[in-house]
């Protein structure tokens, strides 16, 4: 692991692009063509196949959700095609007892942690079978049993929650790590500073995973630093950069951060450099394509396997959409539930009026 620092080479660099991910201090495992880079360790290929399947399921569900939004069948939806390497790669690096604090763009993490596709779509429709009872716009998938926190729209608030939960686990002497997802613009928010400072001071076993999709264009309006990872220096929290379109790099970097946290060495800030799918390099660096190429080169994936996967996902998703669109809305009276653990008099009056 490297701690990001401003190096001599960076001085005067004014343009950033695909080369950025080639920098020495950016962890990569796969080349753009799906070849292993030279120093890559042995990989558990069964895990890589699982990762590919999980990312494919996330992409397919995400695309279908975006289409449902276009058709006006569900509410506002923040799709994240191309971000599967960070969302799903990090999920598979966590242990069962670890926790995830997603933002609204990372709700497909639920699929990788065991939520069914049908439940996922019940949530998107906000129907009576949504585990969150239709209380949140699409993207607020919540599953306590899977140790997935409830996302909200204010930016960055989940970072302090993750640090607090990790801190509590440390106080209780439990071997538990909490990971928070966020985009690079959240590094400008107050809670980012709070979370980093508390994580540093109390050495909480947290992993703060920043998906930087803004580079190269948007960063300059967000920060004056060359990287987001280097912000960790001020808090005594190591900052690590990885190729965010390389699922195996994300997997490895998060695994290292989780192991480090579990050893009692504290939090890690990860900056994953992620090209959006619709960006200039997006298609070439599509994490699904890279992983498929990797598996194909090793004889672990074929066109037949792909066709089979595509078909099974299509069926599973269409069945889920049918079920979710047929399910009823939550009854009106449920609007008054869960404001408090028990219904107080004023809400009873308003409900029954």
């Amino acid at each position: 692991m490297t701690t990001a620092t401003r190096t001599q080479d960076d001085q005067g660099t004014t343009t950033r692009g695909a080369d950025e991910a080639m920098r020495q201090d950016v962890v990569r495992v796969l080349s753009a063509d799906g070849e292993l880079v030279s120093d890559a360790p042995e990989l558990d290929e069964a895990l890589v196949v699982e990762l590919y399947r999980a990312m494919s399921r996330a992409r397919a569900c995400d695309s279908r959700a975006a289409a449902l939004r276009e058709e006006g069948r569900i509410g506002a939806y923040l799709g994240a095609p191309g971000e599967e390497a960070t969302t799903i790669g990090s999920a598979l690096a966590l242990r069962d007892d670890d926790w995830v604090f997603p933002g609204l763009r990372e709700h497909t993490v639920s699929l990788a942690r065991g939520a069914s596709v049908e439940t996922f779509f019940h949530h998107l429709f906000g129907n009576a079978l949504d585990p969150a009872k239709g209380r949140q716009m699409p993207g607020g998938f919540t599953a306590r049993s899977l140790r997935i926190a409830s996302a909200s729209a204010p930016i960055g608030t989940q970072l302090t929650h993750a640090v607090g939960l990790a801190w509590a686990a440390r106080i209780r002497k439990d071997d538990v790590v909490a990971l928070a997802h966020f985009g690079e613009r959240a590094t400008s928010s107050g809670p980012f500073h709070d979370a980093m400072n508390f994580a540093g001071v109390f050495k909480t076993p947290a992993v703060l995973l920043c998906r930087n999709t803004g580079w190269p264009q948007a960063s300059s309006s967000e920060t004056l630093t060359d990287t987001f990872a280097e912000k960790g220096i001020a808090y005594g929290v190591p900052g690590v950069r990885c190729d965010g379109n390389d699922p195996l790099a994300v997997l490895r970097v998060v695994e290292h951060a989780v192991a480090r946290a579990a050893r009692g060495e504290g939090a890690t800030l990860i900056e994953a450099l992620a090209h959006p799918l619709d960006g200039p390099e997006g298609e070439r660096l599509d994490p699904l394509v890279r992983l498929r190429n990797y598996l194909g080169l090793r004889g672990r994936w074929s066109d037949e396997a792909q066709a089979e996967l595509d078909q099974s996902l299509r069926h599973e998703i269409e069945a889920a959409v049918l079920a979710a669109s047929a399910a009823p809305a939550p009854p009106r009276t449920t609007m008054f539930d869960d404001v408090f653990a028990t219904l107080p008099g004023h809400l009873r009056d308003q409900r029954d009026a």
């Binding site: 919540t142 608030t157 302090t160 640090v163 607090g164 939960l165 404001v339 004023h346």
Partner: protein
């Protein structure tokens, strides 16, 4: 029973509950080694250690935001905000996160955080050590709001708050931290959240108040008695959810009501109470409900005793309402 002031009673409650329940942690600015700016947490650091009585960085958003994560994990965090005037950097965490967590998760999670914070004026602290922002936490769904006026209630309500499944804003009237003294039950003792207390019975005018202004209302009621006005004084104790039954029962008896609080007048809790009385006891009213409150100005330093609704401002309202 032991004689205690409010600081001692709150300290006693924290100490008792931390001994009883190892999920309870206290965190905040200088709450540990120093024992808090008002000494409310004095001695707890030595008794329970740095993992349960935590000196945090100076960041209200960080204190409350991390307390959320602790509560989600199953702990019972009791963060202290040094003055409620400084709570606003944490306002987003309180109203958007703590207050909404149970609801937005469909009841999968609770967020039982008890935020202790001194409230109110009269200590020569100026605007930023004197405000009464309690109604700003009532208007957002999902928070219980408590404000004790006696050492006994402070202990009983704090223990009830920490054991509550929901988040509680626990406002401590700092002006009477040491001035309010009284008998406090030893050991385990709770006061139910949501129940007001009739502190003084009377037939002519109902006075509804809470916190430090209870003593001003009682003083005014005693002086009104000399003028032949018999006041019933109600200490709300819990500001949300309100004890509507207690309010309505008293107003139905007296037909006349004066609501007293330090917080600014407009959209303050008194406005809600008067609206409730109009809805539920309108035909029993014999006089227009009155409000005696702070003003819709920032809290002033030099003129703070002019700002506060002290006994001399309450008394004429009682007499005029009785004689209307």
């Amino acid at each position: 029973m032991a004689q205690m002031n409010m600081v001692q009673a709150i300290n006693d409650a924290l100490r008792f509950e931390m001994q009883r329940d190892d999920r309870v942690v206290v965190l905040g600015e200088d709450v540990g080694k120093v024992g808090g700016v008002f000494r409310v947490t004095a001695g707890l650091f030595d008794a329970f250690g740095e993992d349960r009585v935590i000196d945090t960085p100076l960041s209200e958003g960080g204190i409350i935001g991390t307390a959320v994560g602790m509560a989600l994990y199953g702990m019972r965090p009791v963060p202290e905000i040094q003055f409620s005037d400084f709570i606003f950097p944490a306002y987003d965490q309180i109203v958007s996160e703590i207050a909404k967590y149970r609801y937005r998760s469909g009841g999968q999670y609770g967020c039982p955080v008890v935020i202790r914070t001194p409230v109110g004026g009269g200590i020569r602290g100026g605007h930023y050590h004197s405000q009464s922002p309690e109604s700003q936490f009532i208007h957002v769904a999902g928070l219980k709001v408590v404000c004790p006026a006696t050492p006994e209630d402070a202990k009983g309500l704090l223990l009830a708050s920490i054991r509550d499944e929901d988040p509680v804003m626990f406002f401590e009237p700092k002006r009477i931290y040491r001035a309010a003294r009284g008998e406090v039950p030893e050991g385990d003792f709770t006061v139910e959240i949501g129940k007001a207390r009739v502190v003084r019975e009377g037939d002519h005018v109902t006075v509804i108040t809470y916190g430090a202004m209870l003593y001003e209302a009682l003083d005014a009621a005693a002086k009104a008695e000399a003028e032949g006005v018999d006041c019933e004084v109600i200490d709300l104790r819990t500001l949300w959810p309100l004890d509507v039954d207690a309010i309505v029962a008293s107003v139905e008896k007296t037909g006349r009501v004066v609501v007293v609080h330090e917080a600014p007048k407009s959209c303050g809790l008194a406005a809600e109470i008067v609206a409730l009385i109009n809805e539920k006891a309108f035909l029993r009213l014999e006089a227009p409900p009155r409000r005696v409150t702070g003003f819709d100005t920032p809290f002033p330093y030099t003129l703070e005793m002019e700002y506060l609704p002290l006994s001399h401002r309450i008394l004429p309202a009682l007499v005029e309402t009785a004689r209307f």
